[in-house]
C-alpha cells in the first residue's frame, strides 16, 4: 500500500518538475506563428545586419556571405535566380531530380550535393546555411556555435510567404535589387494574365492526383486556381492544406475541369487517360466534356518563384478560348 502511494506521489512530483523545467525554457509566444516557427528576422538595411532566429538567438552578419549552403530545394531554386553560382558551395541532391526540381543540373558539377548530414555541411566551410522550420534545435545551435549564420525560412503555403522568403534571401545575401526585380517580373506576368482573362466566367476546378490528394485553402495551388479565374471545389468541402480525400468525395464535387498533378508518373497511359477511363468518374462534368488535363509543370510542389508558373498554365487550360 505504501509503495503505491509513494509511487504516485513521486510521479506527480516528477511531472511537476518536468512541467516547471519546460516553462523555464525560453519559449516566447511570438516564436509560434499559427503553430509554426517563424522565419528568421533580418534587421538592418546595410551590412552589418542582425539575424534573429525564432529561438531568440541573434547573429551579426558582417558582410554579404560568400559561401552559401542550402538544405531545401526551395532555397536552391531561389538562390539560382538571385545569387551567382560562385557564392554557392552546397545544394541539395534533390536539385538534380527532374521529377521535382525546376533547375535540374543547372548548378555545375563541382558544387557539392548534400543531404542534411551536419558533418558534410561543416566540411564545406559555409558562412551561411539556409534551414527549414523543422530542423532540429541542436543542429541550429551547433551551427551558430561554430560561427556560421543560420537562416530559417518558414512559410511555403501562400504566395505572400514565398515572396517574404525571396525578400529575406535577398536581404541576407545582399541581393535586394535582384530580388526586387524578380518579384516585379512575377507580378507583371501575373497581372498580364489576369487582364487577359478578365470577364471570363469562373470555372469549377478540382486539383487532384490519382492517389487521392487535393489542395485546399491555404496552399499555393488554391491561390493559383483563384488567380487564374477558377473556383477550387475543395473549398466547398472546407478542406485546408494538402489533404487526401476519398474518391467518393472527389466525384461528388462535380468539377467542370480536373487538373491532375501527376507530372512525375511515367507509364503507357497518362494519368488523364486513366481517370477518364475509370467508370466511376463518367458522370463528372469534367470527364464528360473531356476537360481533364495533366499538369506539365512542377509548380504545384515548388515553393519558389516557379510557383508562379502555375498561373499561366492553369489559366491557359481553364480559358482555352482566350489563349488560342
Amino acid at each position: 500500500m505504501l509503495i503505491r502511494v509513494k509511487a504516485i506521489v513521486l510521479t506527480l512530483l516528477f511531472l511537476l518538475a518536468a512541467i516547471l523545467w519546460f516553462w523555464s525554457l525560453d519559449l516566447r509566444p511570438q516564436s509560434f506563428n499559427d503553430y509554426r516557427l517563424q522565419s528568421t528576422l533580418v534587421k538592418g538595411n546595410n551590412f552589418p545586419k542582425t539575424l534573429v532566429d525564432a529561438s531568440g538567438q541573434e547573429f551579426i552578419l558582417h558582410m554579404a556571405p560568400q559561401r552559401l549552403v542550402s538544405v531545401t530545394l526551395a532555397t536552391d531554386e531561389i538562390l539560382s535566380e538571385l545569387v551567382g553560382e560562385q557564392r554557392v558551395v552546397g545544394i541539395t541532391h534533390l536539385a538534380d531530380d527532374p521529377k521535382i526540381s525546376n533547375i535540374p543540373h543547372q548548378y555545375s558539377k563541382h558544387i557539392k550535393r548534400i543531404n542534411s548530414d551536419i558533418e558534410a555541411i561543416l566540411a564545406l566551410q559555409p558562412d551561411l546555411v539556409f534551414v527549414t522550420r523543422y530542423t532540429r534545435a541542436e543542429t541550429v545551435r551547433l551551427l551558430f556555435a561554430a560561427g556560421i549564420a543560420v537562416v530559417r525560412l518558414s512559410g511555403d503555403s501562400s504566395f505572400k510567404e514565398i515572396k517574404d522568403n525571396i525578400v529575406t534571401i535577398g536581404r541576407v545575401t545582399g541581393t535586394e535589387d535582384r530580388a526586387g526585380k524578380l518579384l516585379q517580373k512575377l507580378q507583371a506576368d501575373r497581372e498580364a494574365i489576369t487582364a487577359k482573362i478578365k470577364g471570363q466566367p469562373s470555372v469549377r476546378v478540382l486539383f487532384y492526383s490519382l492517389n487521392g490528394y487535393t489542395a485546399g485553402v491555404g496552399t499555393t495551388v488554391d491561390e493559383v486556381i483563384g488567380v487564374a479565374g477558377g473556383i477550387n471545389v475543395a473549398q466547398e468541402a472546407a478542406l485546408t492544406g494538402s489533404q487526401k480525400i476519398s474518391e467518393e468525395l472527389a466525384i461528388g464535387l462535380q468539377a467542370d475541369v480536373i487538373l491532375l498533378n501527376d507530372f512525375a508518373t511515367q507509364g503507357k497511359i497518362t494519368p488523364a487517360e486513366q481517370l477518364m477511363q475509370n467508370p466511376n468518374w463518367q458522370h463528372v462534368p469534367a470527364v464528360a466534356n473531356k476537360r481533364v488535363y495533366g499538369l506539365q509543370g512542377r509548380w504545384p510542389i515548388s515553393d519558389s518563384q516557379y510557383s508562379w508558373q502555375g498561373i499561366k498554365e492553369v489559366a491557359t487550360l481553364l480559358h482555352t478560348n482566350v489563349f488560342e
Partner: protein, 345 residues
Amino acid sequence: MVHKKSSSIVVFLLLLLLVLMITGLFQGPAHISVQAALSVFAEQLGWSLALTETRPWMHTVLIDVRVPRILVAACAGACLAICGAVMQGMFRNPLASPSILGVSSGASLGAVCALYSGLAAVSVWTLPLFASVGACLTLLLIYRIASQRGQMAIGTLLLAGVAIGALNTSASSFILSLSLNSWEVGRTIIYWTMGGLEGRTWDHVLLIVPVAVLGIGGLLLFARNLDALLLGEVHAASIGVDVMRTRIRLLLITSLLVGGTISVCGGIGFIGLVVPHIIRLLLGPHHRYLLPASALGGAVFLVAADLALRVFVPEKSIPLGVITAMFGAPFFVFLLIKKRWSVQV
C-alpha cells in the same frame, strides 16, 4: 575456470569497444587527415602538436560532431543491451526486450508528439522531456493495471505492456498519418522512429551519459538478485530477495534507461533482444558477468554498426535500426547453429 573465461571475454569486449570508438573518430563524410585529427585532439587537450594545419571547421566536426556521436552510440547500445538482459532475467522469458513493456513505444509517442507540434525545433530539451514523460506514464499505467494490494501479477504485467504498447504505437501512427500532409514533418518523424545518430551534440551526451552511468551502475547491483530470480519467485524469496521491491526497482531503472536512450536516438530495435542472448551463449546465465558483458556488447554493436554505415555508405542516410537488424540477425543465426543444443528457454 568459468570465471577466468568470463573475465577475459569482458576485458576483450572493453578493448574492442575502445578500438572501435577511436577508429570512429577518424571516419566520416568530411575528409580529415589523420595528422590533422591528431593535431585537433592534441590542441583540445592542451598539448601543442601541430602536425599539420587545422581549420576551425575541423575542430567543430571532430569535437562537436564525432565525439558526441560516438559517445552517444556507446551509451545507447550499452543501455539497451543491459535492459534487455535484465528484462529477460526478470521475466524468465527469452523473448523479453526493452520494448516488451511498451515503455519504449511510450517514449516514442512522446517524442513524436514533440516533433509533430514543432516544439522539438524550439529547444534541445523538449524532445527528451516528452519522451521521458511518455515512458514514465506508460510504466505507471501498466503497473497500476497489474498490481493490487502490493502484489504484482507478472503475466498481467507483460500483457498490459503489450496492450499499452500497441496503443502507443497506434497513436504514433495516427500522428504520423496526420503529419504526412506536410512532407517535411512526416519525413522527420519517420527517420526519427527508425533511429539514428544524426546531429547528436554534446547536449545529448550530457543527457545520456549520467543516466547511463547511474542506471547501469544501479542494475549491476542487482546481479545477484537476478540470478536468484531465475530460480523462481519462491526460491528467490527464500534466499532473501524481496521479489516485489526488486522488480519495481528494476522496472523503474530500466524504464528510465530506455526512455533516456530513445529520447536521444530514436527507436533502435534488436539490440536489447539479441545481444544478451549472444552473450549468454558465450558466457552462461550468471548475471554477474552477463550484465556488464551485455552492456559492453551492446556498445560495441552500436558503435560498430554506426562505423560501418559511415565507412561503407556515407552518402545515403540509412537509419541505424535497419543496420543493426541486418548485421545482428545473421550473426545470431550463426551462433544458434553452432550451439543448437545448448539454447535455454
